[in-house]
């Protein structure tokens, strides 16, 4: 196929300019700043900075607290991703079978999607409230003395639950449309070949959902790592104290609360590298994404 081309470089550059300016101002510039300041020790009051080389990084590597937060973030991300994908898949499979009132049912399930993360966190606060929270009461009934913001395990549990709850609708929508794009006749052929519904799901339906699941896996990891900031912030009421926090929250805490811009920059650079790896991984996957047609 013949491709149309520009004769000069100026017009395409001009057309690209708005995009380049936006990326430049909002991404490369701050990223460059972060990398630069990660090699400096900043005066907390902004009076100046001293070049300290890789000290911020070595300090990070040696910090037991950083390792603890990184470890928690890993577990948190794994749990949120696994649970939100698992529950959404279960709901999608069930919703796919609903014939009567299917639309209402699906709309109700998708509603949560419209809730912003901090609002979700706030709703979580109310649900897990020490005195009036229905979930706290329910757990108390089971003999679990739930103490949000006091017991770090309880706080972590609430964080996972709220983050999962918030993410389920997105996954649900994708899984449901993935399920509905599987030809009916393929499922019927499977019904004739295999009498067990569970086996049919794992042998036929799930492999055909795999492209959707791969995509969602990446999206969910990114979500759990970064977008749950609002949830974390609201649930611990801005008082990290002994509460579990994620890496992104630690960047915020050390930089903006602690005034350690250099150390916090070093942390963001580490996160940036992490995102980069994740993005490369995602593109590789998307490129090789299996198309069955």
């Amino acid at each position: 196929m013949k491709r149309a081309g520009f004769r000069t470089i100026s017009l395409p550059m001009l057309l690209l300019l708005p995009q380049l300016v936006i990326i430049g101002i909002f991404f490369y510039w701050p990223a460059g700043w972060a990398i630069q300041s990660s090699f400096y020790l900043q005066d907390p009051f902004g009076f100046g900075s001293t070049y300290v080389g890789a000290e911020n990084y070595t300090r990070l590597a040696g910090s037991s607290e950083y390792r603890k937060v990184a470890w928690f973030t890993l577990i948190y991300t794994a749990l949120v991703t696994f649970l939100s994908l698992g529950i959404a898949l279960l709901l999608a499979v069930k919703a796919d079978k609903v014939i009567r009132g299917a639309k209402t049912y699906r709309t109700l399930l998708m509603w949560v999607y419209a809730v912003a993360p901090p609002v979700a966190g706030f709703l979580g606060l109310m649900f897990f409230d020490q005195n009036v929270g229905p979930i706290t009461e329910f757990l108390a009934g089971l003999g679990w003395d739930f103490k949000l913001g006091v017991n770090s395990f309880d706080t972590a549990t609430a964080m996972v639950m709220v983050a999962v709850w918030k993410q389920i609708p997105v996954n649900f929508i994708f899984f449901l449309s993935g399920l509905q794009s599987i030809p009916r006749s393929v499922r019927e052929a499977a019904m004739i070949d295999n009498k067990s519904g569970t086996q049919r799901f794992w042998d036929i339906t799930f492999p055909l959902l795999a492209p959707t699941a791969f995509f969602l896996l990446i999206i969910n990891i990114t979500y759990a790592l970064f977008d749950t900031f609002g949830v974390v912030d609201t649930l611990i009421k801005g008082e990290p104290g002994n509460n579990p926090i994620t890496l992104v929250y630690m960047v915020f805490r050390d930089g903006f609360r602690g005034g350690d811009l250099g150390g916090s920059s070093a942390q963001s650079v580490v996160l940036m590298v992490l995102v980069l790896i994740l993005t490369i991984f995602q593109f590789r996957l998307l490129e090789r994404r299996i198309h069955y047609t």
Binding site: P183, S185, V186, E188, A189, A190, M191, I192, D193, N194, K195, S196, Q199, D203, I204, P207, L208, A210, I290, H291, Y292, T293
Partner: protein
């Protein structure tokens, strides 16, 4: 290998629409029956009820000696070939064929042997490790056939298996399916909207219309003695000519101003007078006058479209390259005329 017997089977959807009106029939062991009819006539629904993919509202379905109304599709001992093949896209050809066997606890050695045998039969040996997406339409069709064959079921169900193929491949596959079914001796139900497929493949044809079976018969019976005007006009290409007429019961039918002799003493009143285009001959004179309109060349013969007494009429005439006048004289042999009731369309 089994017989199928159906007693008063019917399908009514929850919204009250009746897709299949109560029908009873039986299919002999090794017989291939074709369900044919226009779209929406209920032929696919009937097939899917036999497969267990649609519930049977009322009636009884037996495959072999077993009543299978409430039996899961996988346990009815049937195999189905779908219109769009319905292959498992993530499995190789070999795995597609093996899947049904694997779930029935067949040993690995047996599965391999059966898959290889079926692949041999269908000329698929070179493709066993390919995915369906790497195959042509005809090859996918063969894989779908293979998947049915390896199971060695009591009953084959075909749901318009050839309609996604091009005309040439369709003719070839039609013959192959028929030959294969004969060779295996497996009872089969075959759904199509293509009357040529029905005529060429069937031991018996079931003609369906609006959820009812209009006629059951061998291809020759259907062609020679259509039970109604619907069957007469649906089966055969071009369809049977139908003229609105009045009979006087004494061997005379009045079509407009024309009088056409028919078998005497049968019926008096409004009728449809039917005759196949290929049984009409053009005569030198003295026959029924025919106003010629359009001529369709078919090569060996040609179709003359025109009017008799203002009503549409088609003649299948030998192609002798002779020029034709605007008005021709036709001979409508009395023995080739079919009479149908003017109101109900039923054969008289």
């Amino acid at each position: 290998m089994a017989t199928v017997s159906v007693t008063n089977i019917s399908k009514t959807y929850p919204n009250g629409a009746q897709a299949v009106h109560p029908a009873s029939f039986s299919i002999a062991d090794g017989e291939l029956i074709v369900l044919v009819g226009p779209s929406g006539c209920g032929k696919s629904t009937l097939l899917r009820m036999v497969a267990g993919l649609e519930d049977i509202t009322e009636g009884e379905l037996r495959i072999g000696d077993r009543v299978v109304n409430e039996v899961e599709p996988a346990e009815r001992d049937i195999a189905m070939v779908f219109q769009n093949y319905a292959l498992y896209p993530h499995m190789t050809v070999a795995k597609n064929m093996a899947y049904g066997l694997k779930n029935r606890g067949t040993s690995k050695g047996d599965i391999d042997a059966k898959v290889r045998e079926a692949a041999e039969m269908l000329d698929l040996n070179a493709y066993l490790d390919r995915r369906p997406s790497q195959l042509s339409g005809g090859q996918r069709q063969r894989v779908a056939m293979g998947r049915a064959i390896v199971r060695d079921p009591a009953l084959f169900l075909f749901d318009e298996p050839l309609s996604n193929l091009d005309a040439k491949l369709r003719n070839q596959m039609r013959i192959e399916i028929r030959a294969l079914q004969r060779r295996l001796g497996t009872t089969a139900m075959y759904v199509t909207h293509d009357q040529v497929e029905a005529m060429t493949m069937a031991d018996r044809i079931f003609v369906l219309n609006a959820g009812r079976i209009e006629q059951i018969g061998t291809p020759s019976e259907i062609y020679r003695k259509p039970a109604s005007t619907f069957v007469a006009s649906f089966m055969g290409a071009p369809p049977m000519n139908l003229l609105t007429a009045t009979t006087d019961g004494s061997g005379n039918a009045q079509v407009g101003d024309l009088s056409i002799p028919v078998a005497a003493g049968s019926h008096a009143g409004a009728v449809h007078l039917g005759i196949r285009p290929e049984e009409v001959t053009v005569t030198a004179g003295g026959g029924v006058p025919f106003q010629l309109g359009l001529i369709e060349e078919l090569g060996a013969s040609r179709l003359l479209h025109g009017k008799i007494a203002g009503q549409d009429f088609t003649v299948n005439a030998p192609n002798d390259d002779a020029g034709l006048a605007d008005t021709l004289s036709l001979d409508l042999p009395t023995s080739s005329l079919h009479l149908f009731d003017g109101a109900t369309g039923q054969r008289l």
